[in-house]
Symmetry: C2
């Protein structure tokens, strides 16, 4: 930086101002500085800048599992909103390891990011609230009743309701739900399912599961061997729906001819033409954008109370749902 200043014939302070586009720099010196900088191949040192200015203009984004096709769209939304607000992003993934998650959050704190977005974090609430004392934190896709961190979630209860309404309107009465016990939103989806079924005077039929393809396979086999009639399956997420689909195929049951199938999340797999799964879209881009908005409110707006946002999801009807055979 000294070199740049000397070469441009100005002081270091002016170089700093010019390079950051301050408006109190004469066009002449700005040009001189820019020429000198590019001739010297000068790159400002972010560490020094962050240290001196006591802010990083950076948000940390922690993704619980990079492998999960659910996340990219959320990060997409975050990225777009952050770009617009002039913030940089630092992404990290914990690959499902809780300790790694906490370590990653700590790293964000040590780096002094201006805010942290946790997407689908699995780690304990205590660790999160502790970190929240040092930096604003917003949780996406993980409900948490806290008054120190913000949360942004889709309305899982409503999403499940949409699914059941759709199936019922097609004429289904025997809708089985493959729940996602541990996963985020699982309990809410289940509750929405049960409530809506009962409102229509139908008997809930729940098979335990997780948010994986394998659990979908198990649940489907149990459901079909159970004895109770099943004309439609509402899987807890797209991945488990694929497991169900496999079993249906394997048993020669046509979809949606014999059994209708619905997933949740609208991941790109559901959109593959060869699968064309009816599912629920959470509007993940919006989820990400709202997370950034919440952070900005705290960082630049000075908000200190927690904000808990719940946005409505949308049913995406594709080719795995239709009227039950008896009506067909």
């Amino acid at each position: 930086m000294d070199d740049v200043a000397r070469r441009a014939g100005v002081s270091r302070a002016l170089v700093s101002l010019a390079l950051r586009g301050s408006d109190k720099v004469s066009p002449a010196s700005r040009a001189a500085v820019e020429r000198a900088a590019s001739e010297l191949g000068y790159r400002p040192n972010l560490n020094a800048r962050n240290l001196a200015s006591k802010r990083t203009s950076t948000f940390g984004v922690l993704i619980n599992d990079l492998h999960n096709p659910y996340f990219p769209a959320v990060v997409d939304g975050i990225k777009r909103a952050a770009d617009e607000a002039g913030y940089r992003l630092v992404i990290n993934s914990a690959f499902l390891d809780e300790d790694a998650e906490v370590a990653a959050i700590d790293a964000f704190v040590e780096f002094r990011v201006d805010g942290v977005i946790l997407v689908g974090a699995r780690c304990g609430a205590a660790a999160i609230e502790r970190a929240a004392q040092a930096v604003p934190i917003v949780l996406v896709s993980r409900p948490l009743a806290s008054d120190v961190v913000d949360t942004i979630n889709n309305d899982d209860h409503l999403g499940a309701q949409l699914v059941v309404e759709h199936l019922v309107s097609l004429g289904h009465e025997h809708v089985c739900h493959v729940e996602g016990v541990t996963g985020a939103g699982g309990p809410e989806r289940r509750a929405g399912y049960v409530e809506t079924m009962e409102r229509h005077g139908l008997e809930p039929h729940i098979q335990p599961g997780a948010f994986t393809e394998a659990s979908g396979v198990d649940a489907a086999e149990r459901a079909l061997d159970d004895g109770r009639p099943v004309t439609a399956v509402f899987a807890g997420n797209d991945l488990s729906a694929l497991g169900v689909l496999d079993v249906l195929d394997g048993r020669g049951l046509a979809v949606p001819g014999d059994v209708s199938l619905v997933g949740y999340d609208n991941t790109f797999v559901a959109a593959l033409r060869h699968i064309a799964l009816t599912t629920v879209d959470q509007n993940r881009q919006r989820l990400g954008a709202l997370a950034v908005e919440a952070l900005l409110e705290r960082v630049e707006g000075g908000r200190t109370t927690a904000r808990h946002e719940v946005i409505p999801p949308e049913l995406v009807v594709r080719e795995t749902t239709g009227p039950p055979r008896s009506l067909g």
Copy 2:
């Protein structure tokens, strides 16, 4: 840090040493420092540390497109190797935008990361080589004949050869290849296909395409309407294979009964039981691990010449390949 020093009754310098686990600190003062630090909730400032020590112990990882299911496994391998070597990771994604890619690389340089790993980067070679003057760079999944950056790739030529050998050994003579023109590795796969076909005295049949599902659909339709017989399709990657699969399904052609199908990459989609696509595994974890290794050789080993690694892929036979109907 001053507070910690005072509370522990030692100097700031000693706090620094103790917190980084130096071995020339007495157990007594180490304990005192650690207690003081945790009581005060002290978090070292990474920016200050990086500035003072002139190294960050961090590698920057740039993923060309977060949405592509190809990448997570590579990052997984990188993460594991970096952890082991005591390096932190900073991940970023450009979402297919070349300018964003260059900007992200610049950001890595400004942050003074110790090394950069570009996974599937699309941006111009010039930009990469320029950045390479400031920081060691290794390219994964993007061949580039350069003597300033390292590259780590799978042997696409060999992979294609494995595919053709597999199909030929099943009895296929009419193997169509849906190429991936622009994508990384596309040309090499094509060349491997052509060469192996010709070695077996078979006539190559190539349909242009890209590495997307939609292009697979188009290519498959063209191939089937073309007039030439087709008993097997070798798609450039898994995604385009899914497009092909959809067309085959739509036309009532059984897979592999009427037509065999092979992809490339072994993404998790290929492994879905409902799809069970025969494909080629690049050993992406290894790719990532080798990238870290290459970086370490430069950073800690002082290597300055370029290293170009090509690792052999493996055929993964699932359920979309079988003997052609005429032999069945």
